[in-house]
């Protein structure tokens, strides 16, 4: 009798757990945090495969990706001028609504001035310049852009390129650098394809959210090994030289947009020397370079609202917000119109 009672209580508890987990699964996927299963093309790297994604940790957005991994992707009209914007999470911008993303703002600005332009948001979170260079042939042959804009930021040089934990990083050699990708990670991802349910649980479900909250790192959930090098004492100049030279080689005459990290409450703090090195190297290679620092600081001086940070995090911290995106769009628009590449 007692055993039956205990079993009944246990079964009821199990049912309650499953009902509660299902409820939160729905809430989580629709309003809190949802990623898409990442796709992978050989010699290209990971991209967000088609599906819906939700972010509420920093800012908020609920968006979807098309089969090629482009945010809010739509059929691209054939005769239009195409502007391809490559970047990382600043460009992918899961922190802001699609309408506030600088690619969308730029699209609207061209539309309002009667120009037949299609802006393609090629931002992939965690991307590095090594990846842009590596993936250049695919982008150029599949999208045929008239103009390429490349977004860079400080983390690319102090973290993504010298530290071997991303999809693509640089390994120093005697003659410069070679692009490397984390093959092991790719292999594990490929193997996981054979275990659809397991991959779904770890990549997408409430279990992923819960494990991240419990302190697991993203990489641990995909079983990827992480090979970190110490970044202390790294001389960034060779990385900057390599990036600018190879972006020019890969894309011809790309427009380089740099999004700085700014300490809004300590404006006397000097910018990272990557900024000046990047500006000098772009000038040396003859590439147009936009550093958003001045625009962001001017806007902050006028409006007293930082261009980084969100109402659910803290002012001045993290990615750029809608104000920052609007300013980036404005600067790119001005530069492209000045260039005359867009008719």
């Amino acid at each position: 009798m007692r055993v039956r009672y205990c079993a009944l209580v246990f079964l009821k508890g199990l049912a309650a757990f499953l009902v509660a987990a299902s409820f939160w699964e729905v809430i989580d996927r629709n309003f809190v945090f949802a990623t898409t299963i990442s796709g992978y093309r050989p010699n290209f790297g990971h991209f967000p495969a088609s599906g819906r994604a939700v972010n509420s940790e920093e800012g908020y957005s609920s968006t979807w990706y098309d089969a090629e991994g482009f945010r809010e992707g739509r059929p691209i009209p054939a005769p239009a001028n195409r502007i391809l914007i490559l970047g990382d999470s600043y460009t992918n911008a899961m922190q802001v609504a699609t309408a506030d993303n600088y690619c969308s703002v730029l699209q609207r600005m061209f539309g309002a001035s009667g120009k037949d332009v299609w802006v393609i948001n090629g931002g992939v979170s965690g991307s590095s310049p090594a990846r842009y260079v590596n993936d250049a042939p695919w982008y150029l042959s599949n999208l045929h852009p008239q103009q390429v804009v490349v977004q860079l930021d400080q983390l690319h040089f102090v973290m993504d390129l010298p530290v071997q934990h991303g999809d693509f990083f640089l390994r120093p050699t005697r003659n410069g650098f070679v692009i490397r990708s984390e093959e092991e990670r790719h292999q594990v991802q490929d193997q996981l394809k054979h275990f659809g349910l397991g991959r779904f649980i770890l990549d997408q479900s409430l279990v992923r959210t819960a494990m991240l909250r419990l302190g697991f790192r993203d990489e641990q959930l995909t079983f990827a090994s992480e090979k970190q090098l110490s970044v202390q004492g790294v001389d960034y100049a060779p990385y900057v030289d390599w990036v600018v030279h190879n972006l020019k080689k890969a894309f011809g005459n790309p427009l380089i947009v740099y999004i700085p990290t700014i300490d809004y409450f300590n404006l006397e703090k000097p910018p990272h020397n990557v900024e000046s090195e990047l500006a000098a190297e772009c000038a040396h290679e003859g590439l147009s370079f936009i550093n958003m620092r001045q625009s962001f600081l001017q806007s902050f001086a006028c409006n007293k609202a930082p261009c980084h940070g969100f109402v659910n995090t803290a002012p001045g911290v993290g990615h750029i917000n809608a104000i920052g995106h609007a300013l980036v769009a404005k600067e790119i628009y001005k530069a492209l119109v000045r260039r005359g590449t867009v008719r």
């Binding site: 309650a16 509660a20 609202a305 659910n312 002012p315 001045g316």
Partner: protein
């Protein structure tokens, strides 16, 4: 090992399993003691000797008090050892630093590492020695029992401070791991976890930015930041306490309530009956009453209130800002005493009671500023900003974290209040199980990406 970590849940489960498997009372106490020492060692094993040493010295002194020879002298020795330890580890550098500032002499600081929970441990051993001296608690023959009282892991780091005659009798009966205790303890633990993770951790990032840049924000944003801190510290500390009481309940132990809706207090005196109850009780029993309490005239009463609150402030941390915070509360208590002299709560209408609640909340919120600020300069800047005395360019920012945090705090507070009123979920029923699972899984889903350490661990 903090309560809101997976490591702690694993540790607690291991202790529960061991206690359930072992039948002998003595062996269970050994498990509790070793478990508690392991818990403390996870912070810093070097201070285990300090914990054991304080337990041993207090046990030895109280034994002499019990034997009746030079009772007062032994009490003084016991209290002096405890306060000397606290003084060395917590206040030595503070007083040396102040001395250097005042005299301008060139001296080096001792740079002593502060053992976690030292203030709570010291208050625990002092209360035991004084209670034995006064005859309010019986001397505990078993050193094992006394050592468990001092080191019992749910209350070791940040209280609640236990009364010996409340806890020691519980050690005389065998620990039984029962389903009702597990169920009740788990519920309170979850309510505490909700306060900590969904309220305190959610607000910490915004609070930190506002307090780290005191002159940078507009008055409205600064007020929001200070309100957010008031909720953060309450969520953090009462959440910790709920988790401590819940953990103890799972093992069958009863720890005293430490918070009772403090932000609904009718006046400052009422606030201190509801906030950190075990500390205010300790200060009353072992400081205010020995100083004479309210038995030596009006002005002596005010003096005693001021002394108690100043020392209570200093107890929180070796910083003049804490003294200022204590002083403000002392002043609040004195003012309340002056205006309420002879009046009972029944003689005041409900309108004035509501006004009193609002004013008290505002007073407490404004008083949190020196408690959280990094220094005097920051405190003054934030106060000047709040009251519009610091014009100039300023950042306007609205934090929606408060919108998440306030409903979560209300739900969690309601849950823990019902728990203390013995209205608990019965986890044999499906609907109650569902409510429990919804709360527990909800915490994981809605948790902010980063957690912050418990605020009171610094004290």
């Amino acid at each position: 090992m903090i309560f809101s970590s997976v490591e702690y849940v694993g540790f607690l489960l291991a202790i529960l399993v061991l206690l359930a498997l072992v039948r002998s009372l003595k062996a269970q106490k050994v498990i509790l003691l070793l478990g508690s020492y392991y818990f403390y060692a996870r912070w810093d094993w070097r201070f285990l000797a300090l914990l054991a040493g304080l337990s041993l010295s207090t046990y030895g002194c109280t034994k002499m008090i019990r034997e009746g020879r030079d009772r007062k002298a032994w009490l003084i020795v016991s209290v002096a050892i405890a306060l000397g330890t606290l003084g060395y580890f917590k206040y030595a550098d503070f007083f040396i630093g102040t001395f250097i500032e005042v005299t301008g002499l060139h001296m080096g600081l001792l740079e002593v590492v502060l053992p976690v929970g030292i203030s709570f441990i010291v208050f625990e051993v002092i209360s035991y020695a004084v209670d034995v001296y006064r005859g309010e608690a019986e001397f505990e023959d078993s050193f094992l029992d006394f050592a468990v009282l001092v080191a019992f892991f749910p209350h070791l780091i940040a209280g609640p401070i236990l009364r010996p005659n409340h806890f020691l009798p519980q050690l005389s009966r065998r620990v039984r791991i029962t389903v009702p205790n597990l169920s009740a303890g788990a519920q309170l633990f979850v309510w505490g976890l909700m306060k900590k993770i969904l309220v305190a951790d959610r607000l910490s990032q915004f609070v930190e930015t506002v307090f780290n840049h005191p002159g940078a924000f507009s008055p409205a944003t600064t007020w929001l930041g200070v309100f957010a801190y008031a909720l953060q510290i309450y969520g953090d500390f009462s959440g910790y306490t709920d988790m401590a009481i819940g953990s103890a309940r799972m093992m069958g132990f009863d720890l005293p309530q430490n918070f009772n809706l403090p932000y609904l207090a009718k006046n400052v005196t009422d606030f201190w009956r509801r906030w950190h109850i075990s500390l205010s009780t300790w200060l009353r029993n072992y400081l205010y009453i020995p100083l004479g309490g309210n038995r030596r005239g009006v002005f002596r009463t005010y003096e005693n209130l001021a002394i108690v609150m100043l020392l209570g402030g200093l107890w929180h941390g070796a910083n003049w800002n804490f003294c200022l915070w204590g002083g403000i509360h002392g002043l609040g208590l004195i003012v309340h005493r002056i205006f309420s002299n002879g009046k009972t709560e029944d003689s005041v209408g409900s309108f004035w009671i509501t006004c009193g609640r609002g004013l008290t909340f505002l007073f407490v919120v404004v008083a949190w500023v020196p408690f959280r600020s990094l220094d005097w300069h920051g405190t003054l800047m934030i106060w000047e900003k709040m009251f519009g005395f610091l014009p100039g360019e300023q950042v306007r920012w609205v934090s929606v974290s408060l919108l998440y945090a306030v409903p979560c705090l209300i739900v969690a507070d309601l849950g823990s209040r019902m728990w203390f009123n013995d209205k608990r979920l019965r986890l044999t029923r499906f609907t109650h199980q569902l409510a429990f699972c919804l709360a527990a899984i909800g915490i994981l889903v809605l948790a902010p990406p980063q957690s912050s350490p418990f605020i009171y661990f610094r004290f």
